[in-house]
Amino acid sequence: MTELHTVELTVNGVPRAANVPARRLLSDFLRHDLGLTGTHVGCEHGVCGACTVLVEGAPMRSCLLFAVSVDGASITTVEGCTGPGGELGPVQQAFLDCHGLQCGFCTPGFVTTITAYLDENPNPTQDEARHAIAGNLCRCTGYQNIVASVLRAAEIRREAGVKT
């Protein structure tokens, strides 16, 4: 009988908990145990970046974390990258504006990665924007529109006066 561990996380501001085996990856914890299927699982060994979530604000690959190891942490998933009233957040809106996605499978990882990136670097150049997304793979877009989305998101944040 596999021993279960109680894992309590604050996910997108809401306290959540589940009893899971130690080997439960954070990606599966979010999807299977909490039903938050916005986080996508691509390669499941840390290469593609689709499963990226923010742990205490810092982007990490949720497929490379055991849920039990981050017990007590605050997590932000793509579902939490919205505006204060639940409307699309700056990065989400930018992807819509710039056609930054096609099939959308990789998008959650991009949105979380870019959200955290812009918090630290609110005015990236095009080169910096490209570098910022270098750890995420997209098989559809050829990245051009994702780079444009990073720059557009920075613009939306400036227009909205997001504190930086």
Partner: protein, 291 residues
Amino acid sequence: MKPPPFVYHRPRDVDEALDTLAEIGSDGKILAGGQSLVPLMSMRLAAPAHLIDINRLSELAGIRTGHDGVEVGAIVRHAQLERDDAAFATQPLLRQALQFVAHPTVRNRGTSVGSLAHADPAGELTAVLALLGGRMTLRSTDGERTVAAADFFLGPLESAVKPTDLATSAFFPALAPRTGAAWTEVSRRNGDYAICGVGALVTLDDDRRVASAKVGLISVGPTPVVADLSEPLTGQPADAAVFDEAAQLIQDTLDPEPDIHATAEYRRHLAGVLTARALLEATNRAVEATK
């Protein structure tokens, strides 16, 4: 794939971690950042029966920077060390090389000491520790010992860390006066494992000639390769022509393995080009340091 099942241990302090390690021996692995271990488990290349999670051991969380160098605790993340201004001021090679370790997302979780203990021949920090002549501190229930970098890396993915040891810290000596450091590497894609990477230290004399020079290379052997170039270079002008010759010397001593990413010949070629480049960049920084 999913990682195989394991028994999870979360010790409250280092002593408890050491007791647990002593009890379970080679069936156990330390879980720090897990950025190498978890994919290995998911690919079923590793199946430890026990994991000992040290992520909450605050006694291992510090970066201590003194005049002699930088001591990095076992759960310090790459990103934390990369951003540490005091560590950068004392030993700039740390930040220079850390910027090439995987992607920022991985650096946010992966630990510097963990990557040293993992001893991947493509791991940047292995060559940084070896080039600087740093050391590792290991603890077990038998006590504490330090292992010099030269004795620490034993083979691919094999270090002097025994199953009952916990690597508690790594020590990187400070940059010497009149010295510049540089790291450069080539990988197929941004953030990938380096096909070859080279770190360099160049010290200049009063006439801005080479007083000493040393390089450390990754991905060209089972362990990091360190070459002291002081013999051929001391007293020589620190310029591209001289460094190209030194790079040739290094190329001739290397015997890299071919793999799917690069032939042995290409790796050797890169080792030469990158050695010359790193020496030149380190020289430019040394010139700045002597101003």
